[in-house]
């Protein structure tokens, strides 16, 4: 891979002139300038996969919409973060996520603390544009502290990445493919039997929905702790 020197680049997001370093992404620069772009699979501190497609933006001169989280900035580029077309895309993608599994907020443990739910409020999406697929999966409550409910999973793979990249255990991964894809522990074994899991709970802290949650605490307390990752990275750097 060619390694280039980091340079300062100036470009526009929604007609606002912004600057960033050439190794930064559109999303990173936008956040620094308090320009909001919705995300789900993105989490600061973890690798970017660009899979949920919520952060699609328009880059002038490009034929296709591009995910802000993986698009590197370029000098003079013009980014548009909202338009009727982009909005239509986000609504459809969000509807698809809702239709895929069973997301019934009223009975969900993270009701009020869910990133998926937040997105519907932000986008003003009142109902799914597509019919529900009503897939049913078994809940794994074998672990003494945590529960895995695949019915609320949106396959953002934050848990897989945090376990591999931050905890270094790689206890989680994906099984099967396409619409049948699921998160598994070890070789699709009950969580309690996992030999790789360190019970550190990071996967639970970063899960954007109620797919992974702590046992025995009240719904009100089920706050996610996504910033724990950045703090960890920072303190590790200090140690070096």
């Amino acid at each position: 891979m060619i390694k280039q020197k980091v340079r300062v680049k100036t470009f526009k997001i929604d007609d606002i002139t912004v600057t960033g370093q050439s190794d930064q992404t559109v999303l990173e620069v936008a956040r620094e300038h308090n320009i909001y772009i919705p995300t789900l699979c993105y989490l600061e501190g973890l690798s970017c996969v660009g899979s949920c497609r919520m952060c699609l933006v328009e880059i002038k001169g490009c034929r296709e919409l591009a995910p802000a989280c993986t698009s590197k900035i370029k000098e003079g580029m013009e980014v548009v973060t909202t338009s009727p077309d982009i909005q239509a895309h986000r609504n459809m993608i969000l509807s698809m996520l809702f239709s895929e599994r069973t997301h019934t907020c009223s009975v969900c443990v993270v009701n009020g603390n869910c990133e998926l739910q937040d997105k519907t409020v932000e986008l003003g999406l009142e109902h799914s544009l597509v019919p529900y697929l009503e897939q049913r999966f078994e809940i794994d409550a074998s672990h003494k502290n945590f529960v895995h409910d695949p019915n609320r999973c949106i396959l953002c793979t934050r848990c897989v990445r945090v376990c591999d990249e931050i905890e270094g255990a790689h206890a989680l991964d994906l099984v099967d493919r396409g619409i049948n894809t699921r998160i598994i522990h070890d070789m699709d074994e009950p969580w309690a039997d996992s030999q790789s899991c360190t019970s550190c709970g990071k996967c639970v802290y970063v899960c954007p929905t109620g797919a992974l949650y702590e046992k025995d605490i009240s719904t009100e307390e089920k706050l996610k702790k996504t910033d724990i990752i950045l703090n960890l990275i920072k303190s590790r750097k200090k140690d070096d």
Partner: protein
């Protein structure tokens, strides 16, 4: 360990050794494992994971991603009906349905007695002689529904 004496494990070991126990050897190793064991059982997958120093979940994830790999034991005989485009428009779906009905087995499954596995393929590249089915590794083309059933009776005999 009796496993170590098992010739089939040796074959797997050889493959990994040839590829330097690198993580990229995983898929090649799975191919060899499936060929020698007939399917990928968890013990074998765990053995491979340990030797390649790969996480269990990753090995399992890879093994289930590729449709060529099967985690269930296969029947003594197998029929693979091609469902590629050319075969499809020449009626391979009807062939599949007739086999399912006659032998009481759904696609992807094995008869309860473990004799016959019915599988489908996404194109075996023999489109010019569509519709095609593979009976115990022998390709047969230009099948009619009756022929497709007779061929199974033949291999079961």
């Amino acid at each position: 360990m009796t496993d170590a004496a098992d010739n089939r494990y040796k074959l797997i070991e050889q493959t990994m050794k040839k590829l330097g126990y690198d993580k990229s050897a995983l898929i090649e190793t799975l191919h060899v494992a499936q060929e020698s064991f007939g399917y990928l059982q968890k013990d074998v997958l765990k053995f491979i994971a340990k030797r390649l120093k790969a996480p269990y979940s990753k090995v399992y994830g890879v093994a289930t991603f590729y449709h060529h790999f099967t985690l269930k034991p296969q029947g003594k005989h197998s029929v693979i009906v091609c469902l590629g485009t050319a075969c499809y428009i020449k009626g391979s779906k009807k062939i599949l349905e007739s086999i399912e009905e006659r032998f009481g087995v759904k696609v992807g499954q094995t008869t309860p007695d473990g004799i016959l596995s019915l599988l489908s393929a996404r194109c075996v590249g023999s489109c010019s002689i569509a519709p095609v089915a593979i009976y115990d590794n022998k390709v047969k083309g230009r099948l009619s529904i009756e022929e497709s059933l007779e061929k199974i009776e033949e291999i079961l005999r």
